[in-house]
């Protein structure tokens, strides 16, 4: 017979080992990548155009493409997502329309990203004749991350205490004034966190962008949203699939850059959240 106390201990160790396993695997991966790629990162690697020769190749166009995609996706997904969340939380109520929207949004969250790529290819690249451009890519990615923005914004709005709304209404504020002056500022931290997490997801996507026609080899830096482009994940995918060892070193180096961008964005998200949450708490 095992005593309850022993069971308790056993469960604790089991949970701990699961946690450690994840961390160990992640650190092995990161260590491996760093060993392979860190020495390859220099100024030249960041600023050089792609090349057939691994030693000369750089990630300049891919990095710029990634930045472009990030900015455009943020500009599209943020207003759309936040507005949708406000509608569903504040105006929609229990109407049939809002229920329909809700079901659709949860369905969208479950659609594989390649399917979004097909949608982007058919609707934006072909039907709307945007071509394999940055704009097509970022609209497609916006659709992909929209559910994340909507869900996190709704959670943030839900967390605003009802007493704050009541106080505003009781002073004669309209619904919009209450949303704009009280609800949104109070949920700002949560909304920003959601947006940045959504962008972190977008930054790592390759599949939908390959489908809409992003190229592996782009010998020029994109300058307008209508330009053709590539992004870091596609560049990495391309390098990894080559037989030469020197290209896999390049891939490792590019992965480090991509990880840095993702960590940086997550860091900003955490910082923003803490900053805005503190603002709501008691300050003395």
């Amino acid at each position: 017979m095992i005593s309850n106390k022993t069971k308790d201990k056993l469960f604790q160790y089991w949970a701990l080992s699961c946690t450690v396993l994840g961390l160990v695997l992640l650190s092995i991966f990161i260590g491996n990548i760093l060993l392979d790629g860190l020495h390859r990162i220099d100024w030249n690697f960041l600023t050089a155009l792609p090349s057939r020769r691994a030693e000369k190749a750089g990630i300049y166009t891919a990095m710029l493409g990634t930045v472009w995609i990030l900015v455009l996706t943020a500009m599209i997904a943020f207003p759309l997502g936040v507005a949708t969340a406000i509608f569903l939380e504040e105006y929609g109520g229990q109407s049939r329309l809002s229920k329909l929207l809700e079901i659709n949004i949860s369905n969208l969250a479950g659609v594989p990203s390649v399917i979004y790529g097909l949608l982007g290819l058919e609707v934006f690249a072909r039907a709307l004749k945007l071509g394999p451009s940055l704009l097509t890519g970022s609209i497609t990615l916006s659709l992909l991350v929209l559910p994340i923005v909507i869900v996190s914004t709704r959670e943030a709005i839900k967390a605003v205490p009802g007493s704050l709304r009541e106080a505003s209404y009781a002073l004669g504020a309209t619904q919009w004034q209450t949303i704009w002056n009280q609800v949104l500022p109070a949920s700002y931290g949560g909304i920003l966190t959601g947006v940045i997490l959504a962008l972190s997801r977008a930054v790592g996507e390759a599949a939908p962008l390959i489908v809409v026609g992003a190229l592996a080899y782009v010998p020029f830096a994109p300058t307008t949203p209508m330009d053709e482009f590539t992004v870091l994940p596609i560049q990495i995918f391309n390098w990894v699939s080559r037989p030469q060892h020197s290209f896999s070193i390049n891939a490792s180096a590019a992965i480090i850059i991509l990880l840095l961008i993702t960590f940086l964005m997550n860091g900003i998200a955490v910082y923003m959240r803490n900053k805005w949450q503190n603002k709501l708490k008691i300050k003395s």
Partner: protein, 315 residues
């Protein structure tokens, strides 16, 4: 301010009005009334706006007999549940009316009818007439925002906005589109003086209101409500989350405020109802059991249920 001094002794308790009126008249005689420079916000003026000095216009005794809120055969339902059953009750100008009764008796629901705060509750429906200043607030084409400027509300738990003290008071004006800094500044100072908070916060107006104590926050919430110059103040157990000293300060404030405002207060505290109100309504199970002068309700209640509730035999 000595908090113990404001708790009236037993004979004062019966005539709180006289005590206040006496001191008021004296005050108005000594200080010449300054007319507020602040133009009144668009509403039929029942009460002269508060002057910056806090001086009080003389009270018209005949006027105070006129009901400012009239309710006729009001029924409220939340879905199938009947929260209020056939209540007709008039509330008079410049009085403090206390709504008492055990939890769930419908007194808060009744209070929240007057600024249509129940509208947000799912399944809410109301029948019957509720007239404020002669206007049916549920039937006539009434702007709900305008109604709420007229009928202010203070809640059970202090709920200041997570903004500065100054911005909390200014909010009511800002949402009306008022941008005049001097006017907003004057209103902030005047209303904070009205609630006797000015001296405590005048050096930290731009600090977060959340740093104030519970009692200070509640007085700030009252000041915020006064800033939009309502005629009626609804208070939903405004002291239930406060300690006795903070409670005493709020009660003292209510004596001052009833000179300019009509106050309807929900309270669970019998002593509080006895101390501060002119009229008391006893609610039970969604019905109005008894309504009349506080003095009479507390000394010679007509209904045995009222008596047993007031004396603490149930509820």
């Amino acid at each position: 301010m000595n908090p113990t001094s404001i708790l009236p002794s037993s004979n004062e308790l019966l005539l709180p009005q006289n005590r206040i009126l006496y001191s008021t008249e004296k005050e108005t005689d000594e200080r010449p009334m300054k007319q507020s420079k602040v133009p009144s916000i668009n509403r039929p003026s029942i009460h002269a706006p508060l002057s910056p000095t806090g001086a009080v216009p003389p009270r018209d005794k005949a006027k105070s007999k006129k009901p400012i809120i009239e309710t006729n055969h009001v029924f409220v339902k939340y879905g199938e549940f009947e929260a209020i059953h056939d209540i007709s009750l008039d509330i008079y100008q410049n009085t403090v009316t206390a709504l008492i009764g055990p939890s769930g008796c419908g007194k808060s629901t009744f209070l929240r009818l007057f600024n249509r705060m129940n509208d947000y509750i799912e399944g809410f429906s109301v029948t019957g007439d509720i007239l404020i200043e002669g206007k049916n607030i549920y039937q006539d084409k009434i702007e709900i925002e305008q109604l709420r400027k007229e009928v202010g509300m203070v809640f059970q738990k202090p709920n200041p906005f997570p903004k500065s003290i100054y911005e909390n008071v200014a909010y009511g004006l800002r949402i009306q589109g008022i941008k005049d800094k001097a006017r907003i500044g004057q209103t902030v100072e005047r209303t904070l003086k009205n609630v006797a908070l000015w001296d405590e916060v005048k050096d930290k107006l731009h600090q977060s209101a959340l740093a104030l104590s519970g009692g200070q926050q509640q007085r700030l919430c009252i000041a915020r409500t006064l800033a939009v110059e309502p005629a009626i103040l609804l208070m939903d157990e405004p002291t239930s989350a406060l300690d006795p000293i903070a409670t005493a300060k709020i009660e003292e404030l209510l004596f001052e405020l009833k000179k300019q405002y009509t106050i309807v207060i929900v309270t669970h505290n019998m002593q509080q109802a006895g101390r501060i109100s002119d009229r008391t309504a006893f609610f039970f199970m969604g019905k109005l059991i008894e309504y009349g002068k506080t003095k009479k309700i507390f000394t010679h209640p007509e209904h045995p249920q009222t008596e047993s509730y007031i004396t603490g035999r149930f509820g």
